[in-house]
């Protein structure tokens, strides 16, 4: 940052060039999104035949077709299902991960070192190593084709990434506050709920938003556990279009894709500061 102060004129041109480069890169990167939006409003005959990005006229009927849903399941149903799963996952992750994180960040107990190392190791553990037995367990419990396999693990802090993220944040909080609370007679539970948790709000919000977006986007787990069209999420419903190659379904398919992306875009616009900083801090302070 200070290097720009050394010389004036040439750096200015350099800066313009950097901005131009960034803008050009941005245009290329945003193209798929523009394409998605444009195609969702294209009439069927223009999807493939026309090379223009913009449609000749806006075909809103793509959206009304998409609203009817897939396999006789309305889009409201799909949306509700997606929200239910994502909402349950958010609740589960925020509660269980903050509890575990507090123990790792602030309390002393035997085995803390090895358990913490194990927790970190599970961040790198491929999901597939536990996938099949988990499936068998839920199958034995009669819970396949319900939302439990998608929500229950989140209440057991299985996403170690978030435990780690909250631990990192809690370690940065001043210890004096808790010590003061302890002198005032607060046990670990009160000091967790009344001192540490309120201060950890940025980390909890980051956890909540990332959990929402990742669960909303998740495809593999939903593909395995859900097969009743009634229980499908928006992501799974889009899957029905994967096999379809007819271009007549293109408009409605991408209209539905836009609807499925909308919550993520809104979340991103509203919380980008938390998201970007949450991602940035996950790679630091290690």
């Amino acid at each position: 940052m200070t290097s720009t102060a050394v010389s004036h004129k040439p750096v200015r041109w350099g800066r313009v060039a950097v901005h131009l480069g960034c803008l050009a890169a941005l245009l290329v990167m945003l193209y798929p999104l523009a394409w998605l939006l444009a195609t969702s409003l294209k009439p069927a005959d223009e999807v493939i035949a026309s090379l223009d990005l913009l449609p000749s006229h806006l075909e809103w009927s793509n959206y009304s077709t998409a609203m009817e849903g897939v396999n006789d399941v309305s889009i409201w149903r799909l949306l509700t299902n997606s929200l239910l799963i994502a909402g349950g996952a958010v609740l589960g992750n925020v509660i269980s991960c903050s509890l575990a994180a507090y123990a790792f960040a602030r309390l002393r107990f035997r085995l803390r070192g090895p358990l913490f190392a194990f927790m970190i190791a599970t961040i790198m553990l491929p999901h597939h190593a536990v996938l099949i037995p988990q499936y068998i367990i839920f199958n034995q419990l009669g819970l396949v084709n319900t939302y439990w396999p998608l929500i229950l693990p989140k209440f057991l802090a299985t996403e170690a990434f978030f435990v780690f993220l909250i631990v990192q944040f809690m370690r940065g909080l001043p210890r004096e506050l808790e010590e003061a609370a302890r002198i005032d007679g607060c046990g670990p539970f009160r000091s967790f709920f009344q001192v540490v948790l309120p201060l950890s709000r940025p980390a909890l919000i980051t956890t909540a938003i990332f959990t929402f977006i990742w669960t909303w986007n998740d495809f593999f787990t939903q593909l395995i556990y859900l097969f009743d069209p009634d229980k499908f999420t928006l992501t799974l419903a889009l899957r029905s279009f994967v096999d379809a190659s007819s271009t007549s379904a293109f408009g409605p398919m991408f209209a539905m894709s836009v609807i499925a992306l909308l919550p993520i875009v809104l979340f991103f616009l509203a919380f980008q500061r938390f998201l970007v900083e949450g991602m940035a801090s996950s790679g630091l302070k290690g």
């Binding site: 720009t4 950097v18 123990a103």
Partner: protein, 312 residues
């Protein structure tokens, strides 16, 4: 688990009972806080890992009891299943293309944004957005259409549809990953901003030019972050699924060219109901990721530089 701790503590401080109390309480409290995680770690991680190791030595179709077959799944995988090797080669190719390209792009953009006074926050967010959107089925479907016959890429480059060409389809999948370079870029940028300006000033005083400063200050100071990104992105890349599924309409085609490892695992386990075979595949994946991570950690000793006073 706390019960064993009690006698030793009573022996140590027999007279001052009230003083002992909060400490014991805290040890017990820690386990209360940890209980969901401990339950999850045992029931949903450790136990399943053991079970999948056991299943990998069996024939199991979910309906009949598992039948012990010894090493047969592994032998079949390594010697009799060309599709398995195809999926290995496909995945490794994908990792080798996608990860370095993604990280290089992330680093270049982070360096470009670093010194920026205006617009940095805007660019940072805008470049990061695809990292969140790109994991969705919606974007995977867009990718298939854009790289298909008659799609934008075909129109621009006249190469025909990549998605239908065995030699090109995997590149389309890899580019979707590269497109999501925002997440490592944000981490790089945060790392760059942690480098003290005095280091650059000292280097400049010593007569180091921009390039020399990059090599002697930026690269070593950034190496822990580079290492973090490399490990994380590599592990994630080995597990790619959704884009390959969407681009190939769930089949891994054309000619198995996008049949990545996890897709073949899904196919064996959940389509063909060979849970034993899929478990064996899962364990090989676990071992490979473990070995790759270990090798990265090993080599990191020679190129990752940790400043003596570690955190900030």
């Amino acid at each position: 688990m706390t019960t064993t701790a009690i006698p030793t503590e009573t022996q140590r401080v027999p007279a001052t009972a009230p003083k002992r109390r909060p400490k014991r309480e805290r040890e017990g409290a820690a386990w209360v806080f940890l209980s969901p995680w401990v339950l999850g770690a045992i029931v949903l991680t450790l136990l399943p890992m053991a079970v999948s190791l056991y299943l990998s030595f069996t024939d199991y179709d979910l309906f009949n009891p598992p039948k012990w077959v010894g090493l047969r799944n592994y032998v079949q995988m390594f010697t009799e299943d060309p599709r398995y090797w195809r999926s290995v080669v496909t995945t490794v190719t994908y990792v080798v293309i996608a990860v370095p390209l993604q990280l290089a792009l992330a680093l270049v953009v982070a360096l470009a944004l670093k010194g920026m006074k205006r617009g940095k926050a805007f660019y940072r967010s805008a470049f990061y957005a695809p990292s969140l959107l790109g994991a969705s089925m919606s974007i995977a479907l867009v990718w298939r259409a854009v790289f298909n016959d008659g799609g934008t890429v075909d129109n621009l480059l006249g190469t025909g549809g990549w998605v239908n060409k065995p030699g090109w389809s995997l590149l389309a999948v890899a580019l979707l990953t590269v497109w999501q370079f925002g997440a490592p870029m944000v981490i790089f940028l945060a790392g760059l901003q942690q480098i003290p300006a005095e280091l650059y000033e000292a280097a400049a005083v010593d007569g180091a030019g921009k390039w020399r400063q990059f090599l002697s200050v930026t690269v070593p100071m950034l190496s822990p972050v580079l290492f973090f990104n490399l490990v994380l992105q590599t592990i994630q890349a080995f597990q790619v699924f959704t884009p390959a599924f969407a681009v190939s309409a769930g089949k891994g085609g054309p000619a198995d060219s996008t049949l990545v490892y996890t897709m073949y695992l899904y196919d064996r386990g959940f389509v063909a109901s060979h849970m034993g075979y899929a478990s064996a595949m899962a364990w090989v994946l676990l071992l490979v990721i473990g070995v790759v991570t270990a090798v990265l950690f090993r080599t990191s000793r020679s190129w990752v530089f940790y400043a003596s006073e570690g955190d900030r």
